[in-house]
């Protein structure tokens, strides 16, 4: 089903070339700017952050998330979905708040920078997320007992397809 459909939907040759041309021009502009402005861009430090973030994501964050997802998979539905949702949402909010919670940027001369108690605020936010997920899970759980069909979860064991490789 997919192959003829995809061919018809593919952008025309002219569009492809225009896209590649514009993209390549922007990539070259960026690299040239980074190199030409080396006094400010500090290419070694830049490359360290660029590569370091990829390594941190692919080597640490993604495996941790996958592991957490597998562990949460031991819980039965509908609680499983809400547990995973709460972990994902709470994890993202904690990540965004982390630099503020750590207070790395605080400066004694300027109390208007990072003026809040971010540790407390993050706990409040995480508490609200956990409570909302718990309420939703209990609601779905009760519905399930009354025999209503729940939406099927694609994340279940053996229920999914294998990833599409390229």
């Amino acid at each position: 089903m997919a192959a003829p459909f995809q061919e018809r939907a593919a952008p025309s040759r002219a569009w492809r070339l225009a896209g590649y041309g514009a993209g390549a021009a922007l990539v070259v502009t960026g690299l040239a700017g980074l190199a030409a402005d080396a006094r400010h861009t500090h290419p070694f430090g830049w490359a360290l952050w660029f590569g370091g973030l990829i390594a941190a994501h692919d080597g640490i964050v993604a495996p941790l998330v996958v592991t957490a997802g597998v562990l949460a998979g031991r819980v039965r539905e509908p609680y499983r979905f809400w547990l995973r949702a709460a972990l994902a949402v709470g994890g993202v909010l904690a990540l965004v708040a982390l630099p503020m919670v750590l207070g790395i940027g605080r400066r004694p001369d300027n109390p208007s920078l990072l003026p809040l108690d971010y540790g407390r605020d993050l706990l409040v936010v995480l508490g609200a997320v956990a409570s909302a997920a718990a309420v939703a899970a209990l609601r779905d759980g009760r519905r399930g007992h009354r025999g209503r069909r729940l939406p099927r979860q694609g994340a279940g064991r053996g229920g999914g397809r294998s990833p599409t490789g390229r």
Binding site: G19, V27, H40, T41, V96, V125
Partner: protein, 387 residues
Amino acid sequence: MTRPDLRGLNDRAEAVARGVGGRFRSGLHSERVAARLGLWLGGMFTVAFVTGLVSHFMQHPPSWLLWPSRPVNLYRVTQGLHVIGGLATIPLLLAKLWTVYPRLFQWPPFRSASHAVERALVLVLVGGALFQLFTGLLNISYAYLWPFSFTVAHYWTAYLVYGALLIHVVNEWAKVRAALRTRDEVDPEAPARRRFLGTVAAASGLTVLFTVGETYAPLARLALLAPRDPRIGPQGLPVNTTAAAAGVAALIGDPGYRLTVTGAVRAELSLTYADLVRLPQHTVRLPISCVEGWSAEAEWTGVRLSALLARAGAAADAVVTVESLQRGGAYRSSEVRPPHWHDPLTLLALRVNGSPLAADHGFPVRLIAPDRPGVLQTKWVTRVVVS
């Protein structure tokens, strides 16, 4: 020494890659999820790229470019979109990377030269996107944990990321179209996919909800995770550079203070603080709109810049440089071009919210103008040079 067993190593690598790659069973690692998230990300990165260019060229305009001074809140909105939109993109990017994570283990890693180039560009896209979002997050949290200048690195990396994104879009366009055209009714994975995408949207929305109050005052009380509270600071207004940090704390109390208007003028002016107070005063309501995404509105009272320049006899098309008492620093002076200095809202302010400026807000005199990045609202003003 024996030759390394390359074939054996290759076989082992293949076994590991296929072993890991085959373990991702969730139906959410699918093209349809990736297509939907890719569409959202493409939109967010386009907004960030455009608003970023606006901010860059407002701060470094080529000589032919005259930004308008209205609408008053234009920069406030574009920079709010840039920063709060950037924060909202973090969950989208993480979800996209999770969805396509199994493809990191595809075997063989490169099927052809063009496939190798394609994957190299995806690496640039992933690394660049992570770089922009996470150094951006650290930057608005004032955690400068790098040797480079954030603004310069962020600016050039934006071209790199957006270029790699365009190429990626061309490569994936057919698949995205096909994935989005397939009707949900025929797909058993649709409910799970909707719930997954709903969770991602919720993470994005909550990130906005808990930060946007740093620029959108009605939600200030919900800005629990924002690096600024628009109500907190001297005179109820946040400060970026303090008088102490700028090295002007000892200079601003000098009784010999003068504001001079000089350069291409008919008559130079040299005014004491008392002279300035005696000039006609105007009160305007304008925001400080910081490049870091926060903004705060206040009531400013002072002398119209256009009135001072008329008194000195400056030409109508003159470009004006406003200079601070600061001895150094990238923002010790700023340029004011005709659309801005002719605007009656542009003041050399002496008071904010009813009382004389606090030292950290630029006492004795600061510039305040509509539609202008906060770093260009020069504080501790002592000289106005007309050219």
